[in-house]
């Protein structure tokens, strides 16, 4: 079976001369739930924009489900569902009208379009809003409507560019459940997000792009195994000044009185608790400082910054770890 997405040597140079993509290669297998991560301006949206035909590429090849974008652009578009980062509705149109028009652009007969509209609007809890103008919807509803619009023609590959940005946690979790369900049903999903927790919990494979280049491309599991330390925050009772300053856990007192520390792979938390106990400190609660993937992501991207001598370190320099 062909891959859902194959990108070869993709370059994009914008009119001002800015090289947004420097010849990237990327493969997403069918059925995958794939995260494309990177800091702002790294090239994520440019990559997905080229795949979606919203950005002109400078050179390179894009194939979707085995179809070459240059040879059969309409064929590629039929395979794709696109959920862009920014709202791009006509605010004065009604939800149902937008969806029936979108189905029309894909050549769907109205009967089938209406069935799909009802199915996805119900699944994403928007059915009651079908006759409302878009401007009457909340931000979370608009996000969900964009997903319905992207799915209306039942694509093989769904591209989600920051699908849950600005959505409250309850709705976000229900959207995750929905996306996991359609992925299980066979839809390949490519996701960009700034919520690393989202990528960690949803995605099986991951690529990190920085300054127009793919710097990591692996499974989420493999990536997390690279971590050699983890950061925690402990709420304590007692005098932090009694903890020996030369401890190996890089302990710091935070503004709110809690303690931040790092534990390396091979160490264990009992050793930290013993250190606190010896100092007469009681640990009230303990939590990870950040999401594991977020910690790793920051390390990888920071390690990819050019060094003073111009060199770029490509390996995660201080890959965070989990114990």
């Amino acid at each position: 079976m062909t891959d859902a997405l194959e990108i070869r040597n993709l370059r994009k140079v914008y009119a001002g001369g800015f090289e947004a993509l420097k010849g990237i290669d990327l493969t997403v297998r069918r059925g995958d739930f794939f995260a494309l991560l990177g800091p702002n301006g790294a090239g994520k949206s440019t990559t997905l924009g080229i795949v979606s035909a919203l950005v002109n590429k400078t050179s390179g090849q894009v194939r979707v489900c085995g179809i070459d974008q240059d040879r059969d652009p309409e064929g590629v578009k039929r395979m794709l569902g696109v959920v862009p980062q920014e709202f791009n509705f006509n605010d004065f149109e009604k939800v149902h009208d937008i969806l029936i028009q979108q189905a029309g652009y894909y050549g769907m007969e109205k009967g089938l379009a209406r069935r799909n509209i009802e199915k996805y609007l119900r699944q994403l809890e928007l059915w009651d809003k079908r006759n409302d103008q878009v401007r009457m919807l909340s931000g979370g509803m608009k996000r969900r409507l964009m997903i319905v619009r992207g799915l209306i023609h039942e694509p093989e590959l769904l591209i989600l560019d920051e699908p849950t940005a600005g959505v409250d946690i309850e709705i976000r979790r229900s959207m995750w459940a929905f996306l996991e369900r359609i992925n299980r049903e066979g839809v390949t999903i490519i996701l960009t997000t700034h919520y690393l927790e989202e990528a960690e919990s949803l995605c099986r494979n991951i690529a990190i792009i920085n300054r127009g280049e793919i710097i990591t491309n692996t499974t989420v599991k493999e990536l997390l195994l690279q971590m050699d330390r983890s950061s925690f925050v402990a709420d304590i009772k007692g005098d932090f000044g009694r903890v020996p300053a030369d401890n190996p856990y890089l302990m710091q007192l935070r503004e709110d009185g809690s303690i931040q520390f790092q534990v390396h792979r091979g160490d264990n938390l009992n050793q930290v608790f013993e250190l606190f106990a010896r100092a007469g400190i009681e640990v009230v609660s303990l939590r990870p400082r950040t999401n594991r993937l977020e910690e790793l992501f920051v390390d990888i991207v920071q390690a990819d910054q050019p060094q003073p001598d111009g060199a770029v370190i490509r390996q995660p320099a201080v890959a965070g770890g989990n114990v």
Binding site: A15, A53, N56, P73, Y105
Partner: protein, 255 residues
């Protein structure tokens, strides 16, 4: 084209619903403007002018005013709607879908043509309250009105492709379309002009369209009707090719 008929219907239907939904802004104002022309130029001033081209002045200006309303409505519909789609980025809904460029162009043009012809019909009906006329050649009337509406819809599309702000949409109608229309023989026969200005007027494509239409309605024209059709065909070919080239490049649509 047949396989894309649903996509075409979706775009054209959306465009038609758009201007029908705001009919107070899209259908009534041009009719009101033409009523004022009929009253002031046709009725009040026209009485003093007497005959032109062998017809009373009111009958003479009616075909030109119908044509003027068709041109401005067709052009304005596509330029404002397509630019609005660009501005709100809802054009991306179409760009990500498997819709070939010629279907996108045809869909928007269909909206412009429909509005142009609807306004033309309304102006025609209103004009019957001021004068009466028989149609000299219905085939020429229909073909000129249709081709002109298509031509200016494509023109509006090109304008919107280049436009980066709302002001840009108003520039061409204000500084090019309106002067060419007023100097395009709507209110006078170019026989009234000195030979040099008659020759200059012949360069104005709208003069040929207005006169071809006037020939279809009244049977009189300042220009050769078949040359007018030829001119429309040439302009149509150039503008459609231009619009298709812009769509292929993604001018103003894709970075």
């Amino acid at each position: 084209m047949w396989q894309y008929r649903i996509a075409f219907q979706a775009i054209a239907g959306k465009e038609i619903r758009r201007f029908l939904r705001i009919w107070q802004q899209t259908l009534i104002p041009p009719v009101m403007t033409m009523v004022l022309y009929f009253v002031i130029f046709g009725n009040l001033i026209g009485r003093r002018i007497g005959e032109m081209g062998g017809f009373d002045y009111m009958a003479f200006i009616v075909p030109g005013l119908i044509m003027m309303s068709v041109i401005t409505s067709a052009y304005g519909n596509v330029s404002s709607s397509f630019f609005g789609n660009k501005f709100q980025r809802s054009i991306e809904e179409i760009l990500v879908a498997p819709v070939p460029n010629y279907v996108i162009l045809a869909g928007f043009v269909a909206g412009g043509v429909t509005r142009g012809i609807m306004v033309g019909l309304l102006v025609t009906v209103v004009s019957l309250g001021f004068t009466s006329f028989a149609i000299h050649n219905p085939v020429i009337v229909l073909s000129v009105i249709l081709l002109t509406a298509i031509l200016f819809s494509v023109g509006g599309f090109i304008n919107a492709m280049y436009a980066t702000k709302f002001d840009d949409v108003a520039l061409v109608p204000t500084f090019i379309l309106t002067p060419l229309t007023y100097l395009g023989g709507v209110f006078y026969s170019i026989e009234l002009l000195p030979p040099f200005w008659q020759w200059v007027s012949q360069l104005n494509p709208i003069l040929h369209m207005v006169n071809a239409f006037r020939f279809g309605v009244l049977g009189v024209s300042d220009v050769n009707v078949w040359a007018a059709f030829g001119m429309i065909a040439v302009f149509l070919t150039v503008l459609v090719s231009w619009a298709m080239w812009l769509l292929k490049r993604g001018k103003g649509l894709r970075s």
